[in-house]
């Protein structure tokens, strides 16, 4: 894991559709960045589904999170972490993800949490 310099860690644990959690968590990440905070994202649990390519949220009348995820570089949010275990538990591999991410093992996830003063968990 690279040296972490961010102020704010946002954890995503919910699927991109079905509830508004993922979108509202992303909103907070973007606002945090707009407020001059260095923001990192950590995807765990069903939150890892937000990273998949070829999502079709419009088929269930939702916007999903893809467009917002693509805006992350414009907000200088470039540190995206994902739990290796949570990916593996869902039968997913890194090449199925549409975003460049750092895979973390359990110990690294703990270290990431400990290295942040501000953690928002969604």
């Amino acid at each position: 894991m690279s040296e972490n310099m961010s102020d704010l860690l946002i954890m995503f644990r919910k699927a991109p559709i079905g509830t508004s959690w993922a979108r509202e968590a992303l909103d907070l990440a973007l606002v945090g960045a707009a407020f001059g905070q260095h923001v990192s994202l950590l995807f765990m649990g069903d939150g890892v589904y937000q990273l998949l390519t070829n999502q079709q949220p419009e088929s269930v009348g939702q916007k999903g999170t893809q467009a917002m995820m693509k805006a992350l570089p414009m907000y200088d949010i470039e540190q995206i972490f994902v739990s290796q275990q949570c990916l593996a538990d869902r039968g997913l591999t890194q090449d199925q993800l549409g975003f460049s991410c750092d895979l973390l093992d359990q110990t690294q996830v703990q270290a990431l949490l400990q290295s942040h003063q501000q953690v928002f968990n969604f």
Partner: protein, 130 residues
């Protein structure tokens, strides 16, 4: 200690606002300060003036509004989350051409930046309702 609180759970369907109320009362009793309560996700419904439970049930939003008034606690509702869910103040009702507004007195609509700011300016930000 200076605390801020984030509440993500709605009234009645979720215990979050009630647990947070107990936390705030306990903290105030011990001489701590609660500077801001930020309502996000379904927590925004706690900002409604129209919550009307049966008489034998607690009106948690009303208890929050009273506690805030008595202790000078800022109650802030995320404007983006609120307007989508039909919680409007007079200004937003005009903006969206709605016939009425329903935000409680003493509660204000503001941006998510207020939640970021609460995290940065309080000693601790405590979240309820995940």
């Amino acid at each position: 200690m200076n605390y801020s609180i984030a509440i993500y759970g709605g009234p009645y369907s979720n215990q979050a606002a009630h647990s947070a109320l107990h936390f705030a009362q306990a903290a105030l009793t011990r001489g701590h300060c609660i500077s801001r309560v930020f309502f996000y996700h379904d927590g925004i419904y706690n900002g409604s003036a129209l919550v009307s439970p049966p008489q034998d049930e607690a009106n948690v939003p009303a208890q929050w509004h009273t506690l805030a008034k008595e202790n000078d606690i800022e109650l802030v509702v995320c404007i983006a989350a609120a307007v989508r869910r039909g919680l409007l103040d007079e200004k937003e009702a005009k903006r969206y051409s709605r016939a009425s507004h329903n935000i409680a007195e003493g509660v204000s609509l503001s941006g998510l930046g207020q939640l970021i700011d609460a995290g940065l300016t309080s000693h601790k930000l405590i979240t309820f309702g995940l």
